[in-house]
Symmetry: C2
Subunit: 283 residues, 2 copies
């Protein structure tokens, strides 16, 4: 996946919230790599990385992080993990960070892609090579085909394809990483609320009798936007996603293979089997 890349030197893993940064650190450690880990204060717990080489940084300590990376001669970077959309006022920038603020003030205007591509561009302008987590560790993403034992039916496949087409049509508007289709129609489209909240909405519609989802019906589709930069904010599913869709009465999840994070493939496949769900990656 990184065939066109220059050989990679020492790496910094900028770690946000959730389990994925820990999994990536573990994969790298198993390969004998020892990245420097910059844990983002408030979302990533540095202690969770065990004896790794880790330090905590607030967003407002960007300047201090850059100085540390330069001191260590680190020019390769991967960013992974949940990051609450930061409010510009809550940054509390240190003196060494102040000079970078005008850059980010501009990036804050616009959709998520706009903000995030601004972050990538910033680090590139500072001389870093920013790698996507899927490039560093493709084993974190959905493979093509089913993760567990369940296979999709013809009806489910038709719903999934309609869902992927819908999300592709939304891409030019910088919105729509997920949708739920059931009962022969589109029943929920994700925007600012996030995937979990969208799933809860469907659970709620079903609970209030506003929507009927029969056995084997109901699918979640999740995919990056067309042209989305996968070096930051890759779409992801995990155990909670599976539990949430099981609670909503859906039958499974379709994702774009290689372009959606699933973390530990085997563990997620086993959970899918336990919950009676399909999870399948599509080319």
């Amino acid at each position: 996946m990184s065939g066109t890349e220059a050989p990679r030197g020492p790496l910094v893993l900028v770690a946000g919230g959730g389990d994925y940064p820990l999994q990536l650190a573990r994969i790298l450690a198993n390969r004998g790599e020892r990245p420097f880990i910059a844990a983002i204060d408030g979302v990533a717990d540095p202690a969770a990385f065990g004896d790794a080489d880790v330090q905590s940084y607030r967003l407002g300590q960007l300047g201090r992080l850059l100085e540390e990376l330069r001191r260590r001669d680190i020019a390769d970077m991967v960013m992974l993990g949940g990051l609450p959309r930061p409010s510009f006022g809550a940054l509390r920038p240190e003196a060494s960070t102040l000079k970078y603020l005008p850059y980010f003030a501009k990036a804050f205007r616009g959709g998520d892609d706009h903000l995030l591509s601004g972050v990538v561009r910033f680090f590139e302008q500072q001389g870093f090579r920013v790698h996507g987590p899927a490039e560093i560790a493709p084993e974190l993403t959905a493979p093509q085909g089913p993760l567990g034992r369940r296979q999709v039916s013809a009806e489910q496949r038709e719903l999934l394809q309609r869902g992927f087409s819908l999300l592709d049509a939304l891409s030019p508007f910088d919105v729509g990483q997920a949708a739920i289709l059931a009962d022969h129609r589109v029943v929920a489209i994700e925007a600012a609320e996030g995937t979990d909240a969208m799933i809860r909405r469907v659970t709620d519609l079903v609970g209030r009798g506003k929507l009927k989802i029969g056995k084997g019906d109901g699918v979640l589709v999740k995919t990056p936007k067309v042209g989305q930069d996968l070096r930051l904010d890759m779409p992801a599913i995990g155990p909670d996603t599976l539990r949430n869709i099981a609670e909503a009465g859906l039958s499974g999840i379709g994702v774009r293979a290689g372009r959606v994070l699933v973390g530990d493939r085997d563990a997620l496949g086993r959970l899918a089997d336990q919950l009676g769900l399909f999870v399948e990656g599509f080319a």
Copy 2:
């Protein structure tokens, strides 16, 4: 608007829930017309139509309604008002309705448009001319331009146009009559939950600090789908829509002129002024 129509004979108004059927009955009465009103049981209160010629029908009494219309020589029909998506099992069809059920069993598979166009086709096959409420009473729809005193700003206009384009892109998927844009991005897209629930979601995101909407920011767009049959289930806004978006902190509503019901234009314009909102119809 009905220039190509055959001259209209006696009319039946099939009245669902909400205020719009009452307003249409009033407009017709003011013109000296006296339509037969078939009030759908459970959503339309026959008493609300005063001394009009009104009878109540359950959905399962379709056969009885058809017999009554034939007895009265009524061949022109308009349908208006909210109708909960009926569950096929709750129809409790009378004997005279049973023969029509296979037709509707097919129509129940698919998106809303599919179901509703099936209803229109059914009545047409039964020999009725089905008219849209906008054709019978264009004064019930949004005119072009602002309804109240507020005009949209350049920024609001840009958001509205992006919203209309977004909804147009969703039309092929038979979903998406409304969306909310704020903070330079798309923050909510309506699917099965309905417009009011979508607005409440934004109110909730703002309340939980997940979304910031500044003064003058935040717009609701509402429009029929491209190619939508406006003879049934026209999109509508009303006083509650305005109150809800004011509570969400939005600045106003953009609708497609002539293609979205607003009811009493003057009253809605006054309410918009009171709430400090714009409501504008766009060609």
